[in-house]
């Protein structure tokens, strides 16, 4: 099995005296020559500076490392080809620690002290929501690459008109609504959940219940067991589920906690008793690699990007490049971090400027190609629309971990909530 995390040499390269900025600078610096059309663009002065924050300490720091791998690749590639509109890209990465006050401090540092033109990253919903009211004042485009709360785009962008915020990763719609579209075809009628005891877990379960009830009247929801953040022992939660004897289990547990949950549930024989299991973020690379061969077969999993989808040239080449450079398959946050930089590139070049107002205008409704496929930033709420697969875990001799079989791809348009986000006809299914 692959060793997880950036290996030591690469790690030192990333975090040692050089630091990411210097690394990006030296790699990109010598090659940055204004070329082609953009050499003549006088509107953009100085480098394009991106302030990126993600979690680099604590239990979830692995996510931060995967963010950085994608981010760094994009920056190096773009700089090697002449930068954004002929300007070099500079990036600084800060530890967001998952705390909302640190997210605010970092954003203020990036804009007010470092001089960032763009902001990216953000892992937790609480951080995204804390930062949202401030974006008006900071007046920089922020591309959220991991936090999934639908409130960010529905409330802040759509209702309150904070137009600086964009999101290029899947929101909770995939975890809740899409799961229901998959689950409706199962014979299961009694559902239960073990999910995180915070808004993300509550919201997804609510979406799943509401959408599934609409798609398949007569389903019932028999047990809920909420695991507080940092749970390592899921045995009591598993007992709750086994006692309820449901046909199907839905769980938005993620990262290390999902690994612990799966291992302990397997020991308790949960997967022998419950045939239909939905894990909306089970296809995250850290979970697949962490579980290895231990992952039970036939669990339905999805993610915000999965490295085998879409099976086209762009994605396959990207995965190969990623593997070559980092020795890993890309995690979904690697893809969103990578595509975040390319979104900035497309928008700046389209706008011919890095001014926030012009870039926002260019980005609204903008389509772009990315490893995850074609993305469109919806004009009304700035949410990127793209498709991700659902599938069943299965063994594949080519990989040291279980992969996704029986892939089903629902068009995102069919299950994303629609503006104005209240009243009939705004939640799926749509006619």
């Amino acid at each position: 099995m692959q060793k997880k995390g950036i290996n030591r040499r690469q790690f030192l390269k990333l975090t040692g005296a050089g630091s990411l900025v210097a690394a990006a600078g030296t790699i990109g610096g010598g090659l940055t020559l204004p070329k082609g059309l953009w050499a003549a663009t006088p509107a953009i002065k100085g480098p394009i500076k991106i302030g990126y924050q993600t979690v680099l300490s604590g239990t979830l720091a692995g996510y931060g490392e995967f963010h950085k791998m994608g981010l760094l690749m994009a920056v190096d590639e773009i700089n090697a080809k002449g930068g954004i509109a002929g300007r070099k890209v500079e990036v600084e990465v800060r530890d967001s620690t998952l705390k909302p006050d640190d997210a605010i401090k970092n954003a203020r540092y990036f804009v007010d002290s470092w001089g960032a033109d763009f902001l990216g990253g953000i892992d937790s919903s609480g951080q995204a929501l804390a930062l949202a009211p401030l974006m008006d004042k900071l007046d920089r485009v922020l591309i959220v690459t991991h936090a999934a709360t639908e409130k960010l785009t529905e409330d802040f962008v759509y209702r309150k008109g904070v137009r600086q915020i964009f999101r290029n990763c899947m929101p909770t719609y995939n975890d809740g609504n899409a799961a229901a579209f998959i689950a409706k075809d199962f014979p299961a009628v009694k559902w239960a959940t073990v999910s995180p005891k915070y808004e993300y877990g509550f919201t997804c379960w609510k979406m799943f219940r509401e959408t599934l009830t609409k798609l398949k009247p007569g389903v019932s929801f028999t047990a809920e067991s909420w695991a507080p953040f940092g749970t390592t022992d899921f045995r009591s939660h598993i007992n709750t589920i086994l006692d309820a004897k449901p046909d199907g289990l839905y769980s938005t547990e993620w990262a290390g906690e999902l690994i612990s949950f799966l291992k302990q549930a397997k020991e308790a024989g949960l997967f022998d008793k419950i045939r239909y299991v939905m894990l909306p973020v089970g296809a995250a690379m850290d979970v697949l690699e962490g579980m290895g061969k231990d992952m039970p077969d036939n669990l339905w999993i999805s993610g915000r990007y999965y490295f085998q989808y879409p099976n086209n040239k762009t994605n396959n080449e990207w995965v190969a490049r990623f593997r070559k450079r980092w020795g890993h398959y890309p995690a979904y946050v690697s893809e969103t971090a990578y595509s975040c930089v390319y979104a900035i590139k497309e928008a700046v070049e389209k706008a011919g400027s890095k001014d926030t107002g012009a870039v926002i205008q260019a980005m609204e409704g903008m389509g772009m190609n990315s490893p995850a496929g074609h993305r469109v930033f919806r004009k009304e709420d700035h949410q990127a629309i793209y498709d991700v697969p659902w599938g069943k875990t299965k063994a594949d001799p080519k990989f040291p971990f279980k992969v996704m079989g029986d892939m089903k791809v629902l068009p995102a348009k069919e299950y994303f909530n629609r503006p104005p986000f209240e009243g009939p006809g705004t939640t799926p299914p749509f006619k």
Binding site: N239, G256, A268, G290, M291
Partner: protein, 289 residues
Amino acid sequence: MMQSVVHTVLAGLSAGMFIWLVASGLTLIFGVLGVLNFAHGSFYMLGAYMCYTVLRYVGPDFWVALLIAPLSVCIIGYVVERWFLRYVYHLALPYQLLLTFAFVLIFDNLAKMVWGAGSVTPPDLSTLNGTVSILGRNFPVYNLFIIGVGPLVAAGLWLFLERTWYGRIIRAASSDREMAASIGVSVPALFTAVFVFGTWLGALGGGLAVPYVGLVTTGMGETIIIEAFIVAVIGGLGSLKGAFLGALVLGVLTAFGTRFFPAFDMFLTFILMAGVLLVRPQGLFGTAR
């Protein structure tokens, strides 16, 4: 219902045993050295990481890992006591907490640098990995083993402290340092030895947690150290008997809370501690001051 209650009790007992293993070291160190070691959770974490390392790079023999890993962490415990903690014994409690907190930051960060930022998962083990059916529901053999190890460690500690010459010296030093020194005991060396032994207990807990939790992460020590503190205080600071019972009560109560009173699961631990302290300020088995 019966099935559910029995399995909840079993889950609580096994969870309690980990808290006990960490709390025993904490309690021993506090009882003898008078130091509250906030970094004790870090020894638990390092024990887990070392166990993972042995399993991954030496060989997937759990018993070998369980022998080597805690001993290797003892070296770190030795360094901490010999070159740092020794100089703050005379300081007030807050300073000791702060110093050991500094070690928590350092160890967490070092662990991230050595083992990578993400969580690491141990290879599959052939040791004790079956399940037994208890009232028609699977229960892992390993968890039964854990439930057995806790009392074993407790009995071993008791025998050591009550029935051996070294144990008597330790008890003497914990009640009266000057007296111990006057009969020719090298108190500093004794303190170091006790600290290293406490470290070993915490690291043993971490090693045992590897197959139980299923993964190792930085920051895994923080949750358990708070629980261990609570248990040590509930039981009466310095009382191993109290820590053992406290850990059992806390483990079982938490399991029941999660299963039967989920609305209060985040409160229960703290309600228990506040309740005990309000009724018996010195803890269950602490001596009144």
